[in-house]
Symmetry: C2
Subunit: 229 residues, 2 copies
DNA sequence: GCAAAAGTGTTCAGATTACACCCATGG
DNA sequence: CCATGGGTGTAATCTGAACACTTTTGC
């Protein structure tokens, strides 16, 4: 391809958005529009040209799709499209965003647990939520991006500050534990989990409880402030 | 800068080469030639244009400097030049290479411990070895690349297969331990270190010893083959 | 024999795991 | 009263850290 006037892209920003609905991790996928990859899906992506930061470009890609935008994006390790020739070589910069699909909980609320489903954006959607454990065939190198993300969340997320991004501002031990069980892909022992998480000092109790059915009310927690005074 | 004919670079490959001389970690630095950053130093780097992979570009950058080329290059997390405007926005792809500056050891050898110094490449060198603990002011975002590398080696390198790249093909427990102490920046207890490293099954003994002065001869080891049959 | 690095096992503390019972609520 | 998830402490096990002495060599 000889297109000397159009500058080569400085790179492509790829965004992986993960949402937690209380029992599953879901990711935002968009149908691939390119001729060579019809029928495949992909993560939202956009050129970095015209943006000062790849993170900006990543948010713009979500904006254009009408997809949800998580409050924070974490830069991932870079990946390259393998096997591409020098002419159309593309550097892709990955980003990871976490968000919750659980309803925000207010004081004295009697919110029902969130029902799954209805996560798409219409009939012929430009994006949809897809459980990370059952993603369809992905275009380009996005499968390996997903693989990277899978390892990242398993190894970096648990017991970290960022795992709280999967939950509402106020949450219960049960929700926190289910988030961890989903991320880790295994069951956890209730007392051990709480003991271990308490050591992190990442959460603090509120003087509120959450009543979600015919059960004993659950203490609500919130993320602890950044640095204790 | 308006240069519509010359395509924007698809990215820049930055290479951090770390060498271990038996007591220090050294890195390859080149003097910055750009007008705005004279007097500063930088890591070797080169445009990715014309290469199919960033790793190729990284090796080419070393080649052009006449700098040593480590046998393997590990892609690092990508970084961006912060604060750059969209027009000259550059995506840089980092690479990390490890190599040994210790002499290769043959059977029945009586090699003296390697003396430090004389690591540069001439009078007005195009590159030089510099202890990672005393790097001068670096150009562009290379300081943060170095910071990333520092964390990487402290957290990823110890007790891994890759740490053997800092040593010759045959090495002693003492050398392996000193490599770890240098990387970790702290002293290690001899027996605990050996016990822990043996669990990795990364090394195997050879029927040779190494005599390095008025000391008891040391058993030589070599990296274990990839997968045991 | 003396200096210097090599080599080797055991003990202790802290962390992780496993495990069983009572509580509060809605229906 | 019963089903359901919330809530709590203790004993056993495993892992990582600390620690002292003997061996071999060159000088």
């Amino acid at each position: 391809m000889e297109t000397p006037v159009a500058p080569t892209s400085a790179g492509v920003a790829v965004v992986v958005v993960l949402g937690f609905d209380g029992s599953d991790l879901l990711t935002v996928l968009a149908p691939s529009r390119e001729a060579t990859t019809t029928g495949l899906w992909r993560f939202p992506e956009g050129s970095i040209d015209g943006h000062t930061h790849a993170t900006e470009a990543a948010y713009a890609a979500l904006e254009q799709l009408g997809a949800p935008k998580p409050p924070h994006l974490e830069p991932l390790s870079s990946t390259e499209s393998p096997g591409s020739n020098p002419a159309d070589h593309v550097v892709s910069l990955g980003h990871l965003g976490l968000m919750t699909l659980l309803p925000q909980i207010g004081p004295r609320s009697y919110v029902q647990p969130n029902a799954a489903g209805a996560y798409t954006s219409g009939q012929n959607p430009r994006w949809r939520w897809q459980p990370v454990d059952s993603v369809p065939l992905l275009a380009k190198n996005h499968a390996r991006v997903l693989e990277y993300v899978r390892t990242w969340i398993r190894t970096q997320l648990p017991y970290s500050k960022r795992c709280l991004e999967l939950l509402p501002n106020r949450f219960t031990w049960g929700q926190l534990q289910r988030a961890h069980e989903t991320v880790l892909g295994c069951e956890l022992e209730k007392r051990n989990f709480r003991k271990r998480f308490q050591h992190t000092d990442l959460i603090r109790p509120r003087n509120e409880v959450y009543i979600a059915g015919a059960h004993r009310p659950a203490q609500l927690f919130e993320p602890a402030p950044a640095s204790p005074s």
